[in-house]
Amino acid sequence: MPVPDSALSLRGVVKRYGAITAVAGLDLEVPAGTCVGLLGPNGAGKSTTMRLLTAQAIADEGAIEVLGYELPGESKQARAEMGVVPQLDNLDTTLTVEQNLIVFSHLYRVPRPERREAIERALEIANLRDRRHTRVDELSGGMRRRLLIARGLVHRPRLVLLDEPTVGLDPQVRQELWALIDRLRSEGISILMSTHYIEEAERLADTVTIMSHGKVVAEGPPAALVAEHAGGEVHEVYGPPARLAEIEAEAQAAGRRTRRTGTSVTIIGDFSGNGGPAADGVQRAANLEDVFVLLTGEEIA
């Protein structure tokens, strides 16, 4: 069987739940051996997309292909060759670390002679060798997440789906997980990672796909997206709300795009030279967060 160039692809995929269209004509491609970051606000359709890829949701329209297998018909075969790390921790909490891995080595059909080795390998990946006999409900949040990831790698998959892999973790643990994800990518494992941490996507993803209302609004390498949608520089001004509103109005009157953060207003492009009330702001390099907010809107859905 030839190795397909694309680890997964979705073409014109639509998924409705009653009156709500969660995924509205999605086109997405993960080239083999790359890491694609799926960014989007809550409700953009990221989790539904992940469920579609394991056939836990069935698309109403469109075509989905995973590792060369067509979904939903050949989904079981695809699932045998990919690993899934869910957003919600669904480990068996009354079992030990090792028992959780044993169960999944069976579910993933690791052949009997390789099982012992596969479990040792997964313990190594999770860095939980000394904790193998500890019950999951006695582990820290970071350890549980590492185990959750290792569980999805027990059968050495070619493709890994990571749904919000570091949500709710402290910065140290997050950085550990980033190192691991980066390591997976360097071994040629294809990765689709949904996240709403922009820094995570910026650091780990080869290309980023920004979703909003079930559709792709932009995609490309992080730096190219920034250059295309926010330019090189932005001008950020801090101040009390009334002043921010004033500056926003001024910038928009000058035909400039702006975005609000909690305590500041950011004007896209250089805005220091016009001598107006915004002149005391700081000039900084545009980043992916600017692009994200510009494209997905500021209001919380």
Binding site: T94, V103, A179
Partner: protein, 277 residues
């Protein structure tokens, strides 16, 4: 953990296995789910075994010696203790299959999200449901023998036919676990189980012939009993203990098999609707 310390051998993808195509229904998928249940069972078997042996003992003591002192024998010279002891087997099967399936299934899909994890692996709903029902049937098969053993302590004579009881229990247990899974698949909230236990299970269990022979009931109730899988289980177990009754038992067993097959398909349909959107 630092990714840098891991070697390529530890994380590099496995080369795809040539020619191995997964079938629609795989024994290894069922086996995987069973392994999970067995490992889990090792952490809670004590409490389950305790309740499934102590409960029939209490019932036997209460009914056998309480009511038994008023009733000398039931029909063909069987003492009331023996009558209840054998009848309780079907109840033990029901309580160790339908109940844990109802609650267990609900907890596993809605609170623990276990089924989400299993379905993300190469396991389909049909395999998952079948494995869960098989597991509960095996448990019910063993626990269902407890009342018989307790009754023996109180004087029930062992007989060769009793060796068939675990198989009868297994068949009935499979149907009842599928019934439990189906209920869990169709209810909206765990509180609704109360309706099922009081409106469905309690009446079924009272008119199954466990505590009194149903031939004393009105004609219509006796006809309805033919639709009650518990009744067929009670009959089979009593006949296993006190003497087979030929075609009547073939019919009783066929009814249990039909119940099992029907409940199995309903459970798969219900869970697929619940788990795959």
């Amino acid at each position: 953990m630092t990714g840098a310390e891991l070697t390529s051998e530890q994380i590099a993808p496995r080369p795809p296995r040539e020619g191995r195509r997964l079938r629609r229904f795989e024994r290894s998928a069922v086996g995987g789910v069973l392994v999970r249940e067995m490992i889990n069972f090792s952490s809670y078997w004590r409490s389950t075994t305790f309740s499934s042996t102590v409960e029939p003992t209490i019932y036997l003591l209460a009914f056998g010696f309480g009511l038994g002192s008023l009733i000398s024998s039931v029909g063909d010279g069987i003492s009331y203790e023996e009558f209840v002891g054998t009848g309780m087997v079907a109840m033990a099967v029901l309580f160790s299959s339908a109940m844990p399936s109802m609650f267990g299934t609900f907890v596993k899909y809605s609170f623990q999200r276990t089924y989400d994890a299993i379905l993300a692996a190469p396991v389909d709903t049909e395999e998952l449901v079948s494995a869960e029902a098989l597991w509960m049937a095996m448990r019910a098969s063993v626990f269902g023998c407890a009342p018989l053993l307790v009754a023996m302590i109180f004087g029930l004579d062992p007989s060769w036919g009793m060796l068939a009881v675990p198989f009868i229990n297994f068949t009935a247990g499979f149907g009842w676990s599928c019934f439990g899974i189906s209920i869990a698949a169709f209810v909206k909230s765990i509180d609704n189980f109360g309706y099922i236990t009081s409106a469905v299970i309690t009446p079924l269990f009272l008119v199954a012939g466990t505590f009194f022979p149903i031939d004393q009931l009105p004609q219509w109730a006796q006809v309805l009993a033919q639709l009650n899988p518990l009744y067929h289980c009670v009959e089979l177990v009593r006949h296993a203990a006190f003497g087979w009754e030929g075609w009547a038992d073939v019919w009783n067993y066929a009814a249990l098999v039909a119940f099992g097959l029907l409940a199995w398909r309903v459970a798969i349909f219900g869970m697929r609707r619940k788990l795959v959107d």
